[in-house]
Symmetry: C2
Subunit: 256 residues, 2 copies
């Protein structure tokens, strides 16, 4: 019975995709059957796994706006226990097409029902917005992981994200809960990062993971090779940090 986890934050460039890709990869390497759903029209998660997005006949766009099943588009990755439902640029059209559809926030949920018992964990990569694609992801998921860059603007945006989670929880998805706030792009020695981290701990206490994802250029190089960090640079800080995060998230989810 799949645990479904949305990786969400409307702030741009805070490490959603890098976290979704590398965390799901690590968890699949522990032996869990894992699916990544790419809900971002930028298709960065799909690209990160080497999916040729320009050659796709069908993508999450078709799943959300036509009667295409999600099983029609799910494809293998380089990792044995990890599959992906890829995105495509056209997905940006879905937000406008869905606006006037009855039950527009549940379009994804209805399609994921078909496959959710086939996986132990399902991760959803969200775009940098609180529009319909993210609302669909939060309506489908039981858990949210919030990557939070240890810098000023990141904290500013948290109120709005937390309010949105509350609204979805009360109106559309009573199960939804925040399982983890992950400090990302962390530069250990700067005053900025230290102050940001202290603030994050003050507000979010135990939801904040012990693991910080440190800034590591290997994490920014991996996507151009179409593979997750654990295959690209297994001894790097990036790989070590996501391995630790994987263990920590599994432990947190087992308590839920």
């Amino acid at each position: 019975m799949g645990k479904i986890i949305a990786v969400a934050n409307q702030k741009g460039g805070c490490g959603k995709t890098t976290t979704c890709v590398n965390l799901s990869a690590v968890i699949s390497s522990f032996g869990y059957k894992t699916l990544v759903i790419d809900m971002d029209p930028q298709a960065n998660a799909s690209i990160h796994f080497g999916v040729g997005i320009h050659r796709l006949e069908l993508s999450m766009y078709d799943v959300l706006t036509s009667n295409t099943k999600i099983s029609n588009i799910i494809t293998k990755t380089q990792l044995e226990n990890l599959e992906i439902a890829p995105s495509h640029i056209n997905l940006s059209g879905a937000e406008i097409e869905l606006v006037n559809i009855i039950g527009r926030e549940r379009a994804l949920l209805e399609k994921v029902e078909e496959v959710k018992n086939d996986y132990d964990y399902i991760f959803i990569d969200c775009p940098p917005s609180l529009g319909l694609l993210t609302l669909n992801s939060l309506t489908t998921a039981q858990f949210v992981i919030i990557p939070l860059q240890t810098e000023f603007f990141a904290l500013e945006g948290m109120d709005k994200l937390l309010k949105t989670v509350e609204i979805i929880k009360s109106k559309l998805n009573h199960e939804l809960s925040i399982v983890a706030i992950v400090p990302t792009l962390y530069v250990e020695k700067t005053k900025l990062a230290q102050e940001a981290l202290e603030k994050i701990f003050l507000y979010f206490k135990d939801s904040v993971t012990r693991t910080r994802i440190r800034r590591n250029v290997k994490l920014a190089e991996a996507p151009s090779h179409g593979i997750p960090i654990m295959l690209y640079a297994p001894k790097s800080y990036g790989a070590i940090d996501y391995e630790r995060l994987g263990e920590e998230i599994i432990a947190k989810l087992k308590k839920e």
Copy 2:
């Protein structure tokens, strides 16, 4: 007669706000009467100028969705020649409210007509998406500045952005042209940045600015003090780079 410049890129966290804020600040310091229009519901540019966004009675949300004039919300900044039309979280509602409005991509243009001759330069900060807020910004502007992080995903997204600019140019705004591609968050010594820069030069040749905005922690600290880099840390690399960029952009715009 105001030159209107949109700062746009659907990729998150590539330095749109940091560029919009600091470039407009530098240009205003050259003596030009300058306006910043914050079209991002995250309101980061407004926050960066110390605007108390939670205490605003009216914002760009009201300008776009009611008969509020943009002159009703324009407010001073700490810089003599620089004013701002601030944003508010509610602006994310505007994208949905505008979807079914006739001429929905021109909502901003109609409101900016009132003030565009009061300024030499108008900069528009865009959200990380190609939705209606960015489409409105691109329909209003004569020029686009594209900040481009010197990393892999940044280049991936360029095709879609360029196509969007082409579509807007042909259907809604024949004047629109890309005045500059600005390499941002540049870390001089990494292979990743070098390779990204070479690719950017290959595709975009003369549109790429000589000035690279180097990664400099002062740029990430400034927003928490509510002031642009030139006031926060005038001797920092961040301030030097944006000063140079200001001169380069003025020169490029004078040729247009």
